[in-house]
Symmetry: C2
Subunit: 305 residues, 2 copies
């Protein structure tokens, strides 16, 4: 079974009343009308062997990553976390102190964002560790969620942070969800579209473009490459920056002059880079310093040297 065709099939089955579910599957969070208010929901799994290797990272970091992954989705909508619940399947042999470490790891990621862990379901079983975290969020005051689908032709494409090498160096276990940055950006700028980069900068850029029914032109020299990618790949780290994933940074589009303003006068310490622009042509391309353009496939890019 391939995951992506199945997810496409699920979307084809959806038949929501837009008055109740303004945004269903296909964005970072679902948006739901609940009584007099609009709320957001996301669920993310951390499976041992897929999203973490428990024997290497230990239970605390697995718990931390599970909560942080869901909070990164909250950041991607420029929303405010309210509360979380977790479903945890514990391997039968696990000691209680390790189970407690998972709980503490979940809390260590949620507490800084006032996102309490208000409930859960815990079972011991013969399978590997699984941690599912659902986060409930609300809109920022007087503000709509920022979707993937709102990009406009000519928008600047920006990112927070630096990319590449996160999984192999364990940065995926330590990242801080960009909630504060997202809320600050939403307050100062007209964020047209946003997504968090979990599956790779190229992949998530494709998703944003697809949702917006537009394309993008990325400047290779402007993609911020993490030192981890340089350390791992020497003089050719760009493919890692575009393809690795697990960065949990923000990728967003906004009017070019607003991008100029926040680049000239930063509104927080986390670095921001302008990596390209949205184009009406639905192709996603990358241009090198010598002016050559190539298609940028969703599954990343092999730099031709």
């Amino acid at each position: 079974m391939k995951e992506l065709p199945f997810i496409d099939w699920i979307r084809s089955q959806s038949d929501f009343d837009p008055a109740v579910v303004p945004t269903g599957p296909g964005d970072d969070m679902a948006v739901v009308v609940c009584g007099e208010t609009t709320v957001l929901l996301t669920v993310d799994q951390v499976l041992d062997g897929t999203h973490v290797v428990l024997a290497d990272c230990g239970p605390g970091r697995a718990g931390r990553k599970a909560m942080a992954r869901s909070l990164s989705d909250v950041a991607a909508m420029a929303a405010v976390p309210v509360a979380a619940v977790a479903g945890v399947a514990l391997p039968a042999g696990l000691a209680q102190k390790d189970a407690e470490a998972i709980y503490r790891g979940l809390r260590s990621a949620g507490d800084p964002f006032d996102c309490p862990l208000v409930g859960g379901d815990v079972a011991s079983w013969d399978g590997p560790l699984t941690i599912d975290v659902t986060v409930l969020a609300r809109c920022g005051r007087g503000r709509e969620p920022v979707l993937r689908s709102g990009a406009q032709p000519g928008d600047a494409i920006c990112v927070t942070g630096r990319f590449g090498g996160a999984w192999r160096t364990g940065r995926d276990l330590r990242f801080t969800p960009r909630i504060a940055e997202a809320l600050a950006l939403a307050q100062r700028c007209d964020l047209h579209a946003m997504i968090d980069v979990s599956d790779g900068l190229a992949m998530d850029l494709h998703r944003l473009c697809e949702a917006s029914e537009l394309g993008a032109l990325i400047e290779a020299d402007h993609v911020p490459v993490h030192d981890d990618a340089v350390a791992l790949h020497g003089g050719d780290p760009l493919a890692a920056a575009l393809g690795d994933g697990e960065d949990y940074e923000l990728l967003f589009t906004l009017p070019g002059e607003q991008a100029d303003a926040i680049l000239a006068r930063p509104i927080f310490d986390t670095p921001i880079a302008r990596i390209g622009r949205v184009q009406a042509d639905r192709t996603v391309q990358i241009v090198r310093h010598d002016g050559r353009r190539d298609d940028l496939p969703a599954d990343g890019w092999e730099h031709e040297t």
Copy 2:
């Protein structure tokens, strides 16, 4: 690792602001203040080998049970479901048609209660099937959620439906969450306390009593025994009715005269039985037709013949 001591430990770690989290872990759903409204959240897991046996029941019934389990928690609070999200870990060899059957199973349990599946996280892995369903709910109009902790001395203890033999006969794969019944009861009666019976009538009665800091006296002859338990256990099915679990019926307390009224004039087709009364003495006991009283342990009761 034992699950119950770990869950007790988690509760001991909780330090919620009651203005934000009026009800945290320890009830059927958490109650959270979200902007101008109060919402409820629950998560339940269905793990292959623990809550279902996929090879026996098939993917559709596994999905159905996962959604129905969480909706049974919504019933236990007399709340109204709003939306669900699901985290699904699919065994690597599963065919797409089986993944689709899981989705259809989830929908088949949610759709009758207007509870759309608005998002999810799907991954394929080397472990067994896991399905986590989180349901978001709201309070009934102008009504507070019904907690486990509100029982009062002298209350009648009532149940919906019949008990025993559910797991062995597959009734756990077919049950209808008692949402309609819970809402009808909450509209007509002063429900003081309620819980859904998933782990066994005796176990969940103990939980309700513990949360209410009270005890109970159950009349053995009044416990409604399911035909499945009779078929399985012949002339002595009471222990199965008290201990088996997986019934997903409602156990609730209310003033005795109100119990009399709904028993005399039923407000829905699902049978209701009055099985005993709440007592100030914190013991949980069962009285037989010959008047002999025994303690009713949380893990069920072996009928002495």
